[in-house]
Amino acid sequence: MEKYNNRDDLIAALTEDVTPVTPIRPRQGLALIAFATVAAALACVVIFGFWAGMLDGRASPYFWISNLLLAIVGASSATALVSTVTPRVGAQNPAPAWSTAMLAVLPIAVFIGVMSLEAGHDHGMSLSDPGLRYWECAAYGLGASSLIALASVLFLRRGAPVSLNRAGWLIGLTSGSLGALAYNLTCPLDSLLHTGVWHVAPVFMAAIFWRYAAPPLIRW
């Protein structure tokens, strides 16, 4: 918009054809993200097939621990993300950072477990576990996350986020965790070595990617 020499002229120009607007609500963003997550999960089920192990008791505790932690990260970061759509000042919600730290316990446990193997304590783990090398899960989780990231970016573009870097981190955490969750429902590999690495890796990868990719897309 052109610059006006006089502020009154600017105000007159702005108010020339005022139209009613409907306030943007964070819950609209939550609904959009939930819809994108369900769509991503359905796409994964169609492509890879549903794993019934979670229904008939075959799924190990690691499957539940990793996926429930992903759900917690997804819920906390999505809630924080949609609240950035309206400009505000003051304390920021620390829940996404703490829940991500909780999720990071899994790869740390894997690392310590592998170190224990070196010391002769296997704790039921083995480096010959095929899940340790099946990195494709992380790639599929990342693929599913792109749909959720797209929905998040579209929602934020309607709003006015004032902390672009934080919004970028939150887009990554939300899309990475929910995208991984959407894909993991189809994965029959449920050892700690697999779930603790490849099922949670998309969260950290997406967070770093969107921290840098998102700001130019949501700047206003």
Binding site: V21, P23, T86, G159, N165
Partner: protein, 176 residues
């Protein structure tokens, strides 16, 4: 005198409903509030441009105000966002000039702007960075003169100015 929070919130509710008169009054009141907000933050000659910039952002993003929340913190958040954007542009411009090696040819206006914007934050920079920014960007010395005075090489002076300005921009962005 600027209207109080409840009055502004009522005007904003009316503005979201498409009330032309309320929108006009609200923009005028917001303009006065913004003038006061920016008075302590940027040089006087830049205030009106920035106020206009914020008023346009205010108008185009008016749907992002939640009627259940106070109005002034919302306006302050937009003002701060635009202010940081303004400073980023100033720093980017200064940094670009530095890379072009035209630092000593800054206009008076830019030097004053740098002085006002940087002074408050200088205390948080390493001494070597603050020292060369002060010499080159504010006192108008050339890179070579600053290098001779500080004993740093010309390349190091450039690097320190570049890093210092970048750090200042980060500090401003992080400031609540």
């Amino acid at each position: 005198m600027v209207a109080d929070e409840p009055t502004l919130a009522r005007l904003m509710t009316a503005a979201q409903g498409g009330d032309k008169a309320a929108t006009s009054v609200l923009l005028s009141e917001a303009g006065l509030w913004l003038e006061r907000y920016f008075r302590r933050r940027i040089p006087p000659h830049s205030i009106d441009d920035l106020v206009q910039d914020v008023l346009i952002a205010f108008y185009t993003k008016r749907a992002t105000w939640d009627p259940s929340r106070p109005f002034l913190p919302w306006l302050a958040a937009i003002a701060r966002y635009r202010w940081v954007d303004h400073l980023r542009k100033v720093y980017k411009h200064e940094s670009q000039e530095l890379m072009d090696d035209d630092a000593s040819q800054d206009s008076d206006e830019e030097i004053v702007m740098a002085r006002v914007s940087l002074d408050r934050l200088f205390g948080q920079l390493p001494e070597r960075q603050a020292e060369v920014i002060e010499m080159v960007k504010i006192s108008g010395l050339s890179i070579r003169e600053a290098a001779e005075k500080t004993g740093q090489s010309e390349s190091l002076v450039k690097v320190n100015i570049h890093r210092g300005l970048k750090k200042l921009a980060t500090l401003v962005e992080k400031a609540e």
